[in-house]
């Protein structure tokens, strides 16, 4: 793919997570669950967390949709395992700013990996789907 921006959107890491999602599946003893769906395209992501003592012991997702939404869910849940709740909240907020905002995120962060989407405004919602699902999970009563 040589067309401008596409290589940036579909980086190797994203294609890899899209093809081989990590942390995918059910989490039977989840304490927190959040989901979001994109009204316009039907992509959907559910994130489940097992939180104990303010720490995310395990994170899993289920979903359906495009490479961007599924890779973002996979990368995000992978990053969540072992994080404290405050750090997860901070991560979600950072990703939102990084993908919607004016300033490009640092290259070697999670948001940086997804930053190619910024050149594809109609796909930003795909990248943010799992972020929104996470926010809902964290906000949900245990």
């Amino acid at each position: 793919m040589n067309a401008a921006g596409l290589d940036d959107l579909y980086r190797e890491a994203i294609l890899d997570h899209g093809r081989n999602p990590r942390c995918m599946g059910k989490l039977d003893d989840a304490t927190h669950t959040g989901c979001d769906a994109n009204r316009l395209c039907g992509d959907a992501v559910t994130i489940r967390l097992r939180i104990a003592d303010g720490c995310i012991e395990e994170a899993r997702f289920e979903g359906e949709g495009c490479a961007i939404s599924q890779a973002s869910a996979s990368m995000l849940t992978e990053a969540l395992g072992g994080k404290r709740v405050e750090d997860a909240e901070r991560l979600a907020a950072m990703m939102r700013v990084a993908l919607e905002g004016r300033e490009p995120p640092a290259a070697n962060t999670l948001a940086g990996l997804l930053a190619g989407v910024r050149a594809f405004p109609e796909r930003v919602a795909c990248a943010l789907l799992s972020v929104h699902a996470l926010e809902r999970a964290l906000g949900a009563a245990p």
């Binding site: 793919m1 067309a3 401008a4 921006g5 596409l6 959107l9 579909y10 294609l15 899209g18 093809r19 316009l40 395209c41 039907g42 992509d43 959907a44 359906e64 949709g65 495009c66 490479a67 961007i68 594809f120 796909r123 795909c126």
Partner: protein, 414 residues
Amino acid sequence: MNAAQTARTGFDVAAMRREFPILSREVYGKKLVYLDNAASAQKPRAVIDAMRQFLETDYANVHRGVHFLSSRATDHYEAAREAARRFLNAPAADNIILTHGGTEAFNLVASSFVSPMIAPGDEIVISEMEHHANIVPWHFLRERQGAVIRWARIGDDGVLDLDHLQSLIGPRTKLVAITHMSNVLGTITPARVIADMAHARGVPVLFDGCQAAVHARVDVQAIDADFYIFCGHKIYGPTGIGVLYAKPHFLSAMRPYQGGGEMIREVGFDAVSYGDAPHRFEAGTPPIMEAVGLAAAIRFLEGIDHAAVHAHEQALLAHATRQLRAANGVRIFGEAPGKGAIIAFDVKGVHPHDLATVIDREGVAIRAGHHCAHPLMKRLGVTATGRASFALYNTMEEVDVFVAALQRAREFFQ
């Protein structure tokens, strides 16, 4: 291939393309290949110019005025009604209501005709391949009045199951509302057969002609439609205008839809009375400029050889179908005989959105998603598909560009 194609169908696609200014634009430095025609068609110069010229020389509000421009504008507006009448071969211009779009027309029928006769348990029969515009208004009647929606099945090839449809039409059926052509599968339904089926049980029938109007010839008398709907922007006309044809005895019995100017006879402090059809259903300042554009679009279509256009579109469809069938991992949804020039498909291992994004950068515009047909997606067992839909200005080369781009995308994601 283009020359051969032209020779075969007697249709000069190169000349046709020159009528559409947007087709000469580039996208990311690539030639635009616009295959999203089922969502909305592009506009020929004749339509764009008619609206511009109207605004520059004859514009005013209609009906209410006795001055020159108002009278000119009224003539233009009523000429659009007459053009729509011709286009559908309706018996009289008074059978034609100009709405603000296809969707409004469905809601008008639901609210003014069907809703007043719904008791809990009454039924509306539609099919699994309807557009949300022909579903959600009936869900409103379900939610608010206890109506029941009955879903006529389609076969795996996308053909409407007529036996099943017939079995659904019963004593509680208030309306049969079926697409004349599916915006996903391309299926064209046997409208006259469906109308006869419904009429045999005394049930009126509505056809969603939003897609059919541009691909098939429509004759509302020949198919004995009670209601027929299409919209301007899919027949190379402007947004913001739709057409509802209805048989006169339904129109005169229907209560008004929106309230406002133009649709009344007398407004008092404690009473109100309404004008006759079609005006009763055209409240407020109507889509005047849009009517001028619609009339121009209809004249544009009347000025070209329908058979040649049809042959051209069918050739595009056949060529694309052949190529996609030959491609690896491509599955086509909808193989009804005689279907219109729309192909829904998916590609193994590539989500439709990713596909659409990738080939967009090569200039190819297709649609990816549920196409406002959630129930059909469920029926097909998918959440989304790709869709390429063809117009009279598309070429065989464009089909080739599209398929080549699709192949490269498939390789990229593998």
